[in-house]
Symmetry: C3
Subunit: 278 residues, 3 copies
């Protein structure tokens, strides 16, 4: 996708950024105006506070770069797009930490769902919870055609709850009935099922995910930017405004929920189970 | 479904309940935490004021019973789930009666649509109008795979109108386009068509409706209650609040509509036609 | 469709109407209560200010005619239903003209989307932009089964933007996900694709479009008018009210957008391209 005469543009990589661990790799193709952003946080691309902060700053930089019109979001690790929010960030930490973490999750959503760029998720592996949210924020989702990969908001399975803006994002894509059942059950959809309900737009063989994303992107970029952007904003702004208006209440809600002893216990049980699996 | 070591728990059956005609049969399986509620009002399970009141009270008792986590709603009469609101309750009665009746219909909806339990409709027969509403209030709908059974909100066919909260309930499940066409035409969907538009979730042979409901229930109950309940409420509360906020206006609206001479006439015509059929 | 004993009723044709160029042909069948309205503005049924005004007045007359219960909207020119808003009305004109034009587009939408009649679009040809809007306003859409005919809101392809009420109308029919993608891309759907996403309800051979419209109309007219009308209004009024409340702001928005030099330029480019094609 990055053709011969393009060059990798990462000027801000050279600035001192204490938050950065280079978990967000950005390749910008000047000839097409398309950036490819790869999440690189092995083994499962968990969304930690640091990573989310780096993500938001990287995205912001692309957003203000007039030469960048499209973003392909994908994973640097095959088989997993992102395992979602890192549970260790929500377990046994301080109230302040929970607050900072949740604000960063909100920021990721606000920036990605509200992006002026064309955003395409190249879902090259499983994508539960926060990983599903990220891909749902994009304008288009291409998933590797492998029934072993699944996508969905499975929060209730962990005893936690997807907040209203996760719900709004899913409802925007698959409607209220499928969203309600998905969220109540914490349902994960194998790729073919995800296509069937419209949670992803297209399945392609694993080795074609990136090239298909580039081809679809070219089609989207053939539309005049300003008209496309106004259109996108007209549709998404009401959804975004709902969180903007109650952002602090949503943080308080999360912090008080996650701080409950019962919730902490059930997250601990879940983490212990994960460790035993390893 | 009610296994050997379970016992039928109906403590309130022994209390004096002047409203009760035992038209709502409840079997509670303590081992699974699942109650089966059967509507028994032969020949067609018409929803009379008495029955609706008994239904609301029975549901309320299950709701506050911490041992009860799931409800399967079905009919005691094969071939008919419920024929819907009893037209005789809306014909030739006093204003006070219409008011009490409509309040009971609202109450049924508020309690069932807003239930904290997992609710599954085992639709073992036809289910027009109010019967369709009841099944739409549940979290999941299993219907007998028989094209002779039909389901839908057919109010306009009778010259009456499904109120906004019937409409909201249907829109929640099948979206606005299908809802608009269904409601304008008063369309009844034979089971296969109902599945196709998503009005029911699953068709199974008639003799498998109850066992399938039990199996699906077990799956839903594998999700932690508190997370599932918060999720359900997050999605349904805005819909419920709309009626709560204008409940009295909705009653007045119904009473003044149903009291119109022209409406009374067309209901009378409809009833006369039904009688001739018999 | 117009049967032997019907007569064409166009009393207002004999009045002096300075706005009228007879671009809207109306045939009323008294025996069925169904009017057929044909748009006749060769070569492509562009929606000019004059035509829109004539349309609104004709519709208003049918609306107040108690004998008229249903409207079939179609094109007098085979192959094209309507090419949509006439771009020459938005290019190189005065602010006052843009304002009058946009008010007429709004009026068309308000009257057609809000009609008390059963409205069926007999889409006998391609139907981009404003043409798509007109057909989406109807209760039911029958399209000629010809993959050369396409329908959709393709505004962004021209560098302009479908306003929120175009978007609301489409969302009402195909949901938010399909609407967002369609509007961002300015996507035109060939007839089979339009059927698949639900943008039209039925495809029939080209020579059966009118007769099918008549048959479907008969089915819709079998429902008591008053119940159907209240139902339709209950669903559409909230959508209509959104424009009514901000009608002037919407006009100002359009006028200031369309007056921009950059927009004028891109419309000019588009028109030049169209001329070269001829």
């Amino acid at each position: 996708m990055v053709c011969a005469h393009s060059r990798v543009l990462l000027p801000w990589r050279h600035q001192q950024r204490p938050f950065s661990n280079n978990k967000i790799l950005v390749e910008m193709d000047e000839s097409t105006g398309v950036a490819v952003m790869k999440i690189k946080n092995p083994p499962v691309n968990s969304l930690r506070l640091e990573l989310l902060t780096e993500f938001a700053i990287s995205l912001e930089k692309l957003e203000i770069d007039r030469g960048c019109r499209g973003l392909i979001l994908t994973s640097a690790s095959p088989k997993i797009f992102s395992a979602g929010l890192d549970i260790t960030e929500m377990c046994g930490k301080s109230t302040e930490h929970y607050e900072a973490f949740w604000r960063a999750v909100q920021e990721m959503w606000l920036k990605l769902f509200g992006s002026n760029m064309v955003t395409i998720a190249a879902v090259n592996g499983s994508s539960p919870a926060g990983g599903c949210l990220m891909s749902m924020c994009c304008d288009y989702r291409i998933m590797a055609d492998n029934p072993k990969y699944a996508i969905g908001l499975n929060e209730t399975q962990l005893g936690i709850v997807a907040p209203f803006w996760f719900k709004d994002t899913m409802m925007h894509i698959v409607g209220s009935r499928v969203t309600e059942q998905s969220l109540q059950l914490g349902q994960m959809y194998p790729a073919p099922a995800a296509l069937k309900i419209g949670l992803v737009d297209q399945l392609v063989p694993e080795d074609k995910v990136q090239s298909t994303a580039a081809a679809v992107m070219a089609q989207w970029l053939s539309v005049p930017d300003h008209a496309r952007q106004i259109t996108k904003s007209m549709i998404r702004k009401p959804i975004i405004d709902r969180l903007v208006k109650q952002r602090e209440a949503d943080i308080n809600n999360f912090v008080s929920f996650i701080s409950k002893e019962s919730i902490q216990k059930s997250l601990q049980v879940y983490m212990d189970r994960l460790k035993q699996k390893k």
